[in-house]
């Protein structure tokens, strides 16, 4: 399983007549998503706007987003993977038993109706949130929904897109892919990048106590991570860069205050559909930017002996990388 059939939000705005939000609550978490891109906009292909579009919400409870939806499907908690697998089977007219369907909390009629509408759509789009990607099944849930979107293309145009939160988290994926070939969960401890979520992903590393120093930037794991992970951050030397004194700063050896991105620090941020946007800061901060501080730390480390014990020199990828 791999690969994502996707598009930009501009295409969704212009063309998508069938929108499915799965495990997300845009009404409260991405308040302008409906009005700017998905259901409210009129376009050349959808001149009547909201009337030309159908919105489905799949979630474990009726959130505020359900009010905006034409159809709300309440899936039983932890049964997303099963429901997606059933949809993948039923779009191909494969047999699924009543028992298997009722285990998801939905009826056969509701699923038949959903499939009929999906196939009748001209341009369908799944938006999936953390309710799908961070519950039981995790990345396997996301992967199966991406597969469903890909397989729907046997019948009509269908795409999928994650609903990213946290500002520029999309940019982090893009930059890591560009610089290392992998999107997250990377280790350089053999001198070249290796990718293995579960082994190199932060929560796992911290809970096992694998790392002996931590550099935290633009995040507050001290407020969000499980307690054993926080305990390990407090045990090891932790360095924090943040515009505020955060929970993590309080347990860190070093805190450096930096200018907030987009408000006082210039640069680039990626939208959830992986379009880069230039930032236009309005204020002049008394603090340096993240970029400047990390660059200076890099320069200070470069003056020290390279970490390989046999004294081999740094491959210096970081100073010779392409700067376009």
């Amino acid at each position: 399983m791999g690969g994502k059939v996707t598009c930009t939000l501009g295409e969704v705005k212009q063309r998508a007549d069938f929108i499915v939000y799965w495990g997300g609550n845009p009404a409260e978490c991405h308040p302008r998503h409906f009005t700017k891109y998905t259901i409210m906009q009129k376009s050349k292909f959808l001149p009547r706007g909201r009337k030309d579009r159908t919105m489905v919400l799949v979630d474990i409870r009726e959130t505020k987003s359900a009010k905006a939806a034409d159809i709300f499907l309440q899936v039983r908690p932890g049964k997303d993977f099963e429901l997606i697998t059933i949809l993948r089977a039923m779009i191909k007219d494969q047999h699924v038993s009543d028992e298997q369907i009722s285990a998801t909390g939905l009826t056969r009629d509701a699923i038949d109706d959903l499939i009929r509408r999906m196939k009748a759509a001209k341009f369908g789009c799944f938006f999936f949130g953390m309710g799908l990607s961070m519950t039981r099944g995790k990345h396997m849930n996301s992967a199966s929904l991406l597969m469903l979107a890909a397989e729907m293309n046997a019948f009509t145009k269908f795409v999928a897109m994650p609903m990213r939160g946290h500002g520029n988290v999309t940019g982090a994926d893009v930059i890591m892919r560009w610089q290392t070939g992998y999107p997250f969960g990377i280790s350089f401890n053999r001198g070249y990048p290796r990718y293995n979520p579960g082994e190199f992903s932060t929560v796992d590393v911290l809970v096992r106590g694998d790392c002996d120093a931590a550099f935290i930037i633009g995040a507050d794991p001290g407020a969000t991570m499980p307690q054993p992970a926080i305990d390990h951050l407090a045990r090891i030397p932790t360095i924090v860069l943040d515009p505020h004194i955060t929970h993590t700063s309080r347990l860190a050896r070093v805190h450096i205050t930096t200018a907030p991105q987009g408000i006082a620090a210039p640069g680039t941020a990626y939208r959830m559909d992986e379009l880069p946007m230039p930032l236009k800061p309005a204020l002049k901060s008394p603090y340096p930017s993240d970029e400047e501080v990390v660059r200076r730390i890099n320069e200070a480390i470069a003056k020290k002996p390279f970490w390989l014990p046999d004294g081999r020199q740094s491959p210096n990828l970081w100073s010779t990388q392409v700067n376009q």
Binding site: V174, I175, N189, S201, C211, P221, G262, L283
Partner: protein, 115 residues
């Protein structure tokens, strides 16, 4: 005093990264963020150019930026398996420096995506 205006500024609070925000600001703070949603408005109005926090803290004591950078470099260099984590609320330019940092240290590199 009349406020200056930046048109079509970019909001980085959530993944929508709306780029149609008009910011009305003076030297210290942003007073109005037209077109921004409730989350974006809070994001823009809650950050100011005031010096609310010390430049840096080392072991809980106030320190200069130079000291903090040198201490950070030493701690990271001494570690066998340093972790570089986060990168959500920062720019791509800083993220690229973070990738370079993990590379140079022979450490781990990870973001919120893995949570």
């Amino acid at each position: 005093m009349s406020l200056q205006v930046i048109e079509n500024a970019t909001c980085t609070f959530c993944g929508c990264v709306c780029d149609d925000i008009d910011l009305h600001y003076d030297d210290v703070r942003i007073h109005k963020a037209d077109h921004a949603c409730v989350l974006g408005t809070a994001w823009f109005l809650n950050h100011t150019a005031e010096k609310k926090y010390p430049m840096a803290l080392v072991d809980g004591r106030e320190a200069t930026l130079d000291e903090a950078i040198e201490t950070a470099a030493t701690l990271l260099h001494e570690a066998d398996m340093p972790l570089v984590y986060g990168m959500s609320n920062t720019t791509c330019e800083a993220q690229k420096e973070c990738a370079a940092l993990a590379d140079q240290l022979g450490g781990l590199l990870d973001s919120h995506t893995s949570l």
